[in-house]
Symmetry: C2
Amino acid sequence: MFGHIDYKNPPELCPVRDVMSVASDQWSALIILWLGYFPVLRFNKLKKFVYGISNKVLSQRLKVLEADGYIQRKAYAEVPIRVEYSLTDFGQSYVEKLLELTEWMQTNSPKVLANREKYGLI
Amino acid sequence: MFGHIDYKNPPELCPVRDVMSVASDQWSALIILWLGYFPVLRFNKLKKFVYGISNKVLSQRLKVLEADGYIQRKAYAEVPIRVEYSLTDFGQSYVEKLLELTEWMQTNSPKVLANREKYGLI
DNA sequence: TAGAGTAAGTTACAAAAAGTAACCGGTATG
DNA sequence: CATACCGGTTACTTTTTGTAACTTACTCTA
């Protein structure tokens, strides 16, 4: 894992870090998880599921996730316009990894919350 | 995974989401990964490994990660003061999960970078 | 037939988070 | 005698987010 980093002469930028920071961003992760649950979602549906996200940030994240190859966007020339978002095969393989982490979080978040509370009282 | 969310009546806040956003934050993840590699690290060493982080943000993240139970801080009353950071058992169990994700990222980041480039040219 | 609602965003502005650089007091190093 | 280390903190600037209004063209409701 750290083998590729020469930590005595740290590089200006680590590409893995860059890629990971996009994919594990809170909103990006939620978008990908919901698209893993529902194969196809339109903008406004997605916005309802990814509770609390703004149009602006949803729009930004969708563009970045599309550019990075996790999701695909299909626009239909109807009136009103219909746009469908779905995971690519690559995105599908990522969501499986992400789900493992999320499951760990679901199991362990009570411990974190308990810890947080205890820490606040001391 | 989604069973706990009633997406027709979305909750004001999802605790899992809150916990996960702290733990999967870019800087937090890097701190935890380096502490998984070196059992004990002092502030300035950590700062060198977590390349690019500022004192301010490192200090903030260490406090939050300590409060959430991932790391522990030991200060020795020497002169100059010595402070050692290390993973708790809980943090250790988390870093194992995080490493799996990181390994996936290492394997797959070339695909993402290739995709990104292709997308930029169209 | 006026009014509201839907669709997928964009835009201008405000608020929050992150980055930058200087500083602390005491000690060891050159 | 000046410099660097130790583990941070503080004031200030820049970047990122969030908020709310707006867009175009059609459909549904009263």
